[in-house]
Amino acid sequence: MYIAVKGGERAIEASRQLLAAARRGDTNVPALEAAQIEQQLGLLVSRAMAEASLYDPSLAALALRQACGDAIEAAFLLRAYRTTLPRFGYSEPIDTDRMRVVRRVSAIFKHLPGGQLLGPTFDYTQRLLEFGALAAATPGPAPHAAAAPEDVPNALTQLAREGLVEPCLRSVGDPQPPDITRDPPAYPLPRTGWLQMLARADEGWVLGLGYSTQRGYAHTHPFAADLRTGKVTVELVPDELDFPIEIGEIELTECQMINQFVGSADVAPVFTRGQGLVFGRGERKAIAMSLVDRALRGAEFGEGSASPAQQQEFALPQGDSVEASGFVQHLKLPHYVTFESELQLIRKLRKDVHARAVEAAREGESE
């Protein structure tokens, strides 16, 4: 009889080598450079950065290559790196009204200050596979890029001025937001906490939750008021100075959703808002996030909490792709000790049932 008790170490080493080979694929095909991923798979880079909550396109490209293109694995690699970085300060709040937009659309007005700007979008591509591109990639003429307009005011600005939309106000007491990467969550979280969690939540999860609010689970009557993508300046006030300095710029996508009004016979009704904000170009996620943000405000507006999208403890912790991916996949780790315990129990229970059946039969015979 032979039962293996050794070999784990060698097996792991062999597995690492097999992974490296699988990642490279056919060596007759040129190796992919991280710069190619950064430039040509930009939406994937955006998603990895968003779910990692680390803005660094070249590192995200590197992580994606190392992860064989798996976005969640790439986010995991980036987060494990992010956690080792020192924290030397907090930026000033960014101003998305001053975004240098490459795309900005509003669904609630035909014309509006700043204009409708389609920019690069899949929306009108008709989704026909370009078979010709398989053979040879012939670079087309570079499109003429219009200069990015500066300072496009938010589509809600005028409505807010009229008092029709709730103003963007700081929360009561303007509390310091929790840092979800440092502080364990204490539910219920303030809005500043859940927005952080949604911003780096799994895109598929947020999409599904947002969609659920459109199918009767916490309906919010949404209108996409202002959806924009572009670069914004990041500013920081260093300890040595008493004024902000620019430290760089990041690309963001923001969606401001306008929703059903609240009010009463005595309080004049106003439209309410939901917000979505993600790193890079992540329009689908930003729109879905704004729906979920608004649904999570249900308690604030007395709308109840019967639907999953309204329940923080359901909507938020389960959405973390790195946590969920790790825990779901830990099921492939050995569990044979706990399973053996279950085997012992089920055998015992079956024996008891069988013994009772035999006993009952015997009693039946003797009567």
């Binding site: 009889m1 039962i3 008790v5 050794k6 070999g7 784990g8 170490e9 097996a11 792991i12 995991f76 987060r79 494990a80 992010r82 956690t83 080792t84 020192p86 990467t181 440092r182 502080d183 364990p184 969550p185 204490a186 539910y187 219920p188 403890e313 790195v322 946590e323 991916s325 790790g326 825990f327 779901v328 996949q329 830990h330 780790l333 050995p334 569990h335 044979y336 000790v337 706990t338 053996e340 315990s341 279950e342 085997l343 012992q344 129990l345 015992k348 229970l349 008891d352």
Partner: protein
């Protein structure tokens, strides 16, 4: 000592993070069985694979420690190997498979059969620290239940098990009460191991990374598996003997071979090897 991975602090985490974790651990030791929230960090190993235990080990390990890592009772399961390699790379401390030699033992799913001694530290990897989560998933609610020591839900659950099955339907992760106060999850160790926690001379630390909670049992603390006066908690031996060392009282793995025969061996490989060294033999050697 082997060279430590370049660019990383001793035991991977920076000193401020370790201090934060140690502070939480001190609180946990002061309130046995109480779950203490902590600022769990993203680790380079996946959630659910021991990130909590790894953070606890990283926070308490020193250069003179001798580390043992087990999974399912064995030092050579792949996850145990991986975590041991991680600490070898990031600390350079000496590792061992011998329970007696270790000052620090990180475990998943088992407590070593060799009784632990004063001064040793046992670190458990915990997937789900909340013993009530199957009965009440909202942590905002379970926190209140623990605060009020309101464990009626759990008692009813155990009673219903007895009514339906004649036994309590918890063969692992069997809930315990610590120091007569907090109901605590022992992590998914088999109920077979629960009695080892009671008045253990070693310090027991529990880390749940994904759930961001720590808890502890100080040495020599009372740990009672939940039960009823007329249905006392008890464990039963497997009814088999280890084929290597002949032990009938340790936790056994059940292994089927290609011919469909079932073999039984000790889950604790160090315990088994120790017994073989001492001259014990199972029937495989006879």
């Amino acid at each position: 000592m082997t060279a430590i991975a370049e660019g990383y602090n001793f035991a991977y985490l920076d000193e401020r993070t370790k201090k934060m974790i140690r502070r939480a651990l001190l609180k946990a030791v002061a309130i046995p069985g109480h779950q203490v929230p902590f600022g769990s960090r993203e680790m380079p190993l996946a959630y659910g694979w021991g990130t909590g235990g790894i953070q606890v080990t990283a926070a308490v390990i020193g250069r003179d420690d001798v580390l043992k890592v087990i999974d399912q009772g064995s030092d050579d399961t792949t996850n145990a190997v991986n975590i041991r390699q991680f600490f070898t790379r990031t600390t350079g401390v000496r590792t061992t498979t011998r329970t007696r030699e270790a000052t620090l033992i990180q475990t998943r799913h088992r407590i070593p059969e060799t009784p632990l001694a004063p001064g040793q530290v046992l670190v458990y990897q915990v997937p789900q620290p909340e013993p009530l989560y199957k009965l009440e998933p909202r942590r905002a609610e379970t926190t209140k239940l623990h605060g009020a020591a309101e464990y009626g839900l759990m008692n009813v659950k155990l009673y219903e098990d007895l009514a339906q099955w004649g036994h309590i339907d918890e063969s692992y992760e069997y809930p315990v009460k610590v120091d007569g106060r907090y109901v605590m999850s022992p992590s998914p160790i088999p109920a077979f191991d629960n009695p080892k926690m009671h008045r253990m001379p070693a310090l027991q630390l529990f880390g749940a990374g994904r759930e961001k909670r720590l808890y502890a049992i100080p040495p020599y603390t009372d740990v009672q598996s939940l039960d009823f006066e007329d249905h006392p908690f008890r464990i039963e031996p497997h009814g088999h003997a280890c084929e290597r060392c002949g032990d009938t009282a340790s936790f056994l793995d059940e292994v089927a071979d290609a011919d469909g025969r079932v073999h039984w061996t000790c889950s604790d490989t160090d315990w088994c090897a120790d017994r073989v060294d001492q001259g014990h033999q199972g029937h495989a050697h006879g």
